[in-house]
């Protein structure tokens, strides 16, 4: 009985809809603002907070651009210190990116496709350099690859290979911090591939290698490019691990970020000029990845 009563009550509610129709425009407005949860926070707070944050990001950049010695820019960029640092940075970051690709793609493959115990652990290990303070990474690299390190000692004694105070050390340090960006991006890319395309290739007589080169890699290309660009940008800006592990020798281990830091003491204009170069490169990478990353956030 009571169920019946409630039911008729709800019928009455429906019946009383028409009088409510006068309030319709008002409820319509409410409905329009509801999709934005932020709408409930006072607008002023949002505006002030947002503006402050924007200001916080923009001000240093403005300062950098405002203080830039535009008239001497060309001279500064072509000065020996700058040229050495630029050359070294380009070579090392490209080598580090190549290393990251050569070793990172197989690792990403394992993480994406192989089913093995401890995969979560491996992924955590790969992720670690992303969150690890770079200077700690540098110290860790020292313990492993310096002349007295775990592997470094043997490498030096047996093969005469030394990473510390050597350009190869810069490459190693940069690869260490940059590889995770590539591995993660490529792993996500691999997961997104419909493996049935590889099956289709197999039924067409394509062996494992043909399938990898002609199918998988083609689908993977955008992720690989994005991962490589991110890794390269990270390698280019690497400071902490590099200065800790490889030291700071002009023309050998002094990359752009190291040069910026050191020139700040002696030649601030040059430091600013070099910073601008790095800023320009960062902006370029952002533009390059615009569709892929910022597009996903939109």
């Amino acid at each position: 009985m009571s169920g019946r009563v409630r039911r008729s009550g709800s019928l009455n509610d429906t019946g009383s809809l028409p009088p409510d129709a006068d309030g319709m425009p008002a409820s319509g407005t409410r409905a329009r603002t509801r999709p934005h949860p932020g709408g409930r926070v006072p607008l002023a707070v949002v505006l002030v907070g947002g503006a402050a944050a924007l200001f916080f990001f923009a001000l240093p950049l403005a300062g950098l651009l405002g203080r830039a010695p535009w008239s001497r820019l060309v001279d500064d960029v072509t000065s020996p210190v700058a040229r050495d640092a630029l050359r070294l940075s380009l070579i090392c970051s490209v080598c580090a990116t190549a290393l990251a690709v050569v070793f990172g793609v197989p690792l990403a493959w394992l993480l994406a496709r192989a089913d093995f115990r401890g995969r979560a652990l491996v992924r955590a290990l790969v992720l670690l350099p992303m969150v690890l303070p770079p200077v700690v990474g540098g110290v860790a690299l020292l313990r492993a690859f310096s002349r007295t390190g775990l592997v470094g000692e043997w490498l030096y004694d047996a093969l005469g290979i030394q990473f510390t105070f050597h350009t190869s050390g810069v490459v190693l340090a940069e690869a260490f911090v940059a590889m995770p960006f590539l591995v993660l991006t490529v792993e996500a890319g691999l997961r997104a591939i419909d493996t049935r395309y590889e099956d289709a290739a197999a039924t067409l007589g394509a062996g494992q290698w043909t399938r990898f080169w002609r199918v998988t890699l083609r689908f993977l290309a955008p992720s690989l490019a994005a991962g490589a660009a991110l890794a390269w940008a990270r390698a280019l800006g690497e400071f902490g691990a590099t200065i800790t592990f490889a030291g700071n020798i002009q023309g050998r281990t002094e990359t752009l970020p190291l040069a910026v830091y050191l020139q700040l003491e002696t030649n601030q204009d040059l430091a600013i000029t070099l910073s601008l170069v790095l800023l320009a490169i960062s902006v370029a990478v952002l533009v390059l990845l615009r569709d892929r990353w910022l597009g996903a956030l939109r």
């Binding site: 289709a200 290739a201 197999a202 039924t203 067409l204 394509a206 043909t210 002609r214 199918v215 689908f219």
Partner: protein, 355 residues
Amino acid sequence: MKTDTGLEASVRVQRGALTLAVDFAAGPDQVVVVLGPNGAGKTTLLRVLAGLLAVDSGRVVLDGEVLDDPATGSFVPAERRAIGMLFQDYLLFPFLSARDNVAFGLRSQGIRKANARRRAEEWLARVGLADRAGAKPHELSGGQAQRVALARALVSEPRLLLLDEPLAALDAGARAEIRRELRRHLDAARGTRVLVTHDPVDAAVLGHRLVVLEEGRIVQEGSHRDVSAHPRSRYVADLVGVNLYRGQARRGVVRLAGGGELTVASSEATGEVFATVHPRAVAIHLAPPEGSPRNRWQGRVTDVDTLGDRVRVRIDGPVSVIAEVTPTAAGELGLGPGREVWAAVKATDVVVYPA
């Protein structure tokens, strides 16, 4: 020496909840259609035949060559089987033109680019797409993509052609014509041809022999005519559109497994039998019918479906049955859910065959 003896497969595979246990053969002169509902294991079976999945036990032999036999440890992977496969959603490589999609298999076999492309173009011409050779898959219509995929599967003249729901992705308007076209190419192709579908029309038009697969097992096989005349499962009976019963026959009476009985014309059938009644053969009365029909029982209408110029009436009673009447009759009798009616079937309209 390989001979064209076709395909012999004994397949036992466990995939999640599905246990596939199938033994079947397909001659090189036939198109065998594997018909079954979704989840019956049709695609899994094709993947096994293609070499994309190995059997847990059993044996796959094509034209005398052992492709898969865990007992001897032999397994020929997909890329070394002389097969062509048409996937349900075609899986054309999106970054290659139609021409290069078709040429892909030839290129994989080491045939030079110019030669492979020329042969690909010949095949595209055969499927009527000579002018679309340079188009990328996303520029093709569904029917065109299907034909490119077919050309891609056929270009290397496979000994075994596998087709996974080749028409399922097409809209109804295009399907009939593409089906006719496909039939022409299937008939022209050499080698063993196995097609998987859940569409009985595909099965009727495209296949020479029908294998019905349900829940990983073959429930029936034979010509399309045999299968539709003598359904052996609820699924097939529903496809054909007849009432199917199972029971024990003795002296002209079939005692049904679900209760009730049917009188049949022939007293020869004995033992476990199937009995079918066509919905058209079921008459509906409002009062107990007096006349020749040997089978009559009272029941209640549970469902009334209008299909064009016919009305299908489901009657639940001692023997549940679907009857087919005209809309006029349904109107005059006031047939609707809940209506008490009498159903009558002549003994000569009950078809009986051994289970």
